[in-house]
């Protein structure tokens, strides 16, 4: 499925993922981890992409086999590697903690494998979640 850079876009993806999970009897915890990862990844992609009359669009493809779920998120925004940023300091107290910067860290930790490539003027992010680790 494909979503445009508008506020409801992320919600549409997660609704579609919930439907996919139900159809294919995906374990609840796998579906929840994927929802978190997609929410953070797509919100991130949309915030770095173009807005205005020609907003960037994000395409999400989900593949399922017996061992793993693979999610491919492609956007046509400017080159942006979400995993290039340093991990935030999660040992700071509530008062010291800056608001934000956690999303991509969560994606990397919740998924079993993440990958980024710039291909044909598109950002291509691949997320892999092993079902055995569910």
């Amino acid at each position: 499925m494909s979503v445009g850079a508008h506020p409801g876009g992320v919600g549409e993806v997660n609704a579609a993922l919930a439907e996919f999970a139900e159809t294919h009897a995906l374990p609840e915890d796998v579906r929840r981890d994927l929802s978190v990862a997609l929410d953070d990844l797509i919100a991130n992609a949309l915030s770095h992409g173009r807005t205005g009359p020609d907003p960037c669009s994000v395409t999400v493809e989900v593949k399922l086999d017996q061992e793993r779920v693979t999610v491919i998120v492609t956007d046509d925004g400017p080159p942006f590697d979400p995993f290039a940023r340093a991990a935030p300091d999660t040992s700071l107290s509530v008062e010291e903690r800056p608001i934000g910067g956690l999303g991509i860290h969560l994606v990397g930790q919740l998924m079993d494998k993440v990958d980024y490539q710039r291909r044909d003027n598109h950002n291509v992010v691949v997320l892999v979640k092993e079902l055995a680790n569910g």
Partner: protein
């Protein structure tokens, strides 16, 4: 996402049902900020919370700061495995009080 509140003695119990993500967090933030004004002890009931992303964590961090500033307390209970995992990875599990059950939260707060 839906938010309900009830009280038990001097503790406000705020139940958040559905998901706390980039779509729902602006509304959650607005509701929570209003609910926390004047509250001292707040227990968040996550029994019906499906998942939480970093946008949701930001809302909770804001709530925790708001309560700390006014000398209040923030606790939570009823976390499912995915929500608990997100709290542990983010480090929030060590900075916000997590209780096993509503009874434990109410007794400790």
């Amino acid at each position: 996402m839906q938010i309900f509140t009830r009280t038990s003695d001097d503790i406000h119990i705020v139940s958040i049902a559905g998901s706390l993500d980039s779509t729902t967090s602006p509304e959650a933030q607005k509701s929570l900020t209003a609910m926390l004004a004047g509250a001292k002890k707040v227990a968040l009931d996550f029994t019906e919370l499906d998942y939480i992303s970093s946008a949701g964590l930001r809302v909770l961090l804001g709530a925790a700061k708001q309560l700390r500033a006014s000398g209040g307390k923030l606790g939570m209970f009823g976390l499912n495995q995915s929500v608990r995992e997100v709290f542990e990875i983010s480090g929030f599990a060590t900075i916000l009080s997590i209780y096993k059950s509503e009874a434990e939260a109410l007794a400790a707060m």
